[in-house]
Symmetry: C2
Subunit: 311 residues, 2 copies
């Protein structure tokens, strides 16, 4: 991919070269040479005080428009913004690349904004390795605010929670999934609910259903709820205010979250390397299982018995 | 959980004791004693000729009603039906158990139907270990048709595809997620699309959008599309016919799918055992990383270097 040596890449990153940030992400995403050095550099130099905002929501919720407006709102506060967007594209298409160009749109001349789309493969309800890696690079690059768009799956998945400071869940009135989503555990990961397209007549119903669903939660654990009409810039100030409040509430969790991130990161690196060895052993067992000499469960026991971890 | 010895459990399963099937699933789901023997037994005795039908779709699509009617339609053909339902419940609630009672409803007196709800934890867009295990037990118990309900995540995830013969995706008119879902790769895993609530005026739009989205596919790869009104039993005959056609089309893939299942099963067994060891090693590395002596990436390299797989 890149013919620039990693040391030079790092020098240019230090100087704040946005074009090089793009190259660095591509290198890391493609497991290019120098990936580990680059991530080590990013990890050692990353800002710990930036705001990492997770944004999720079902399709059709107007998430992209809302993200556009959130970017503008932070830019008006003089803050730099990095966006990691995950496109729900088929693994069979190259949608992520096209998405980049379309989505940069209104921000393409603003040097205080950087948007990168990443494929969502392997990130169902969680956070892909590519997004995690990009997050280190963004933090090291020094953005004040990092928006991490994730896929709305209407399902509790807490891993991503450890990688963001505040999670915003976008709902839209008249979508049957709304309340189901709120019930299906996303309530436990949402810090702020946004009811977007709040000028729709059904908005009030969604609002009341949502608020009511928090009845059993202690007051200091109830998510904030904000109504917005992103296309008309309505509710954005209040949303940013709620994000601030949610961040203050989350501050005591920062160290715990960091610990979880570190654990998750070490483990996933080991698992990735282990999986390469494992696939060979699985292949060895395939025929004995297919001919009926072993069940898959016996086969995995046999493989496991050959794994040693030295002290 | 169970105080019945595994050998006795197996004897009773052989006799077709449905109550014992329920106990066996609970034992396996809870990693109870005798789990491996039970799964070995199920694997060695399972029917290879039953129809495993995956049913997925966004919330609010009327999936439960449709599943009810599909059960009845197969029962009318004299076939026995086992259902593995995955409830999108929060990990914080015990919803799966309640769901069981509610959903058995109209079938509770029919001994040719067996329904079991399982938690969806760790099954995002895929298939949970508990569902896979239940599937072996169902196949061994001898159902003619097994319905495996999975979570609609609007996302391509192909693993589940290897565990079912035919995948039915349920859409509902007027839900913004429909076409997004169809675009987001689910098209690649769907054998049959059902447009439920087809009496809604928007149904025709969804139908045409859907059919049009297949334009680029070769004819023999285009999913079947059926309109149903499950509440009125409309379209069920056609749906079963399309499932039959889809099964015939899938028959050449059966051996390949079996191979993938076996690989997936061996690997996941090994990974589960490995994860127990891994978590201890990760814990050892936590402090060096948190104090800044190592990055998580260096730490995972160090852990990996200590893993040996004997020949």
């Amino acid at each position: 991919m890149s013919i620039i040596p990693t040391s030079e890449l790092i020098e240019k990153l230090k100087k704040g070269d946005r074009r090089i940030l793009g190259k660095a992400i591509t290198l890391v995403e493609n497991d290019g040479e120098g990936k580990v050095e680059l991530l080590d550099y990013a990890y050692r130099t990353m800002r710990e005080d930036c705001l990492v905002l997770g944004i999720t929501g079902a399709g059709g919720a107007g998430k992209s428009t809302l993200i556009d407006k959130i970017i503008l709102a932070y830019r008006n506060q003089g803050k730099t913004v990095g966006v990691i967007a995950v496109d729900p594209t088929s693994p069979y298409t190259g949608g992520a690349v096209l998405g980049d160009r379309v989505r940069m749109g209104m921000h393409s001349t603003d040097t205080g904004v950087f948007i990168r789309s990443l494929g969502s493969r392997g990130a169902l309800g969680g956070i892909s390795q590519a997004s995690k890696d990009a997050l280190y690079l963004y933090k090291s690059f020094g953005f004040d605010v990092i928006l991490l768009e994730s896929l709305g799956v209407g399902q509790a998945e807490t891993e991503i929670n450890d990688f963001v400071d505040v999670t915003v869940v976008v709902l839209v009135p008249g979508n049957g999934d709304n309340i189901q989503m709120a019930k299906a555990g996303i309530q436990e990961i949402a810090d702020v609910f946004v009811i977007n397209k709040a000028d729709k007549p059904e908005a009030e119903t969604v609002y009341i259903q949502l608020i009511t669903s928090f009845d059993n939660l202690p007051e200091n654990l109830r998510p904030y709820v904000v109504k917005t009409v992103a296309t008309e810039n309505r509710g954005l100030d209040e949303l940013l205010k709620c994000i601030d409040l949610a961040l203050k509430r989350q501050l005591p969790n920062r160290f715990r979250k960091k610990k979880e991130r570190v654990k998750c990161e070490i483990a996933s690196g080991v698992r990735r390397r282990f999986d390469e060895v494992l696939s060979l052993r699985v292949q060895d067992m395939l025929v004995p299982v297919l001919v009926g000499n072993l069940t898959p469960f016996e086969a995995s026991k046999q493989v496991s018995s050959k794994i040693r971890v030295e002290e």
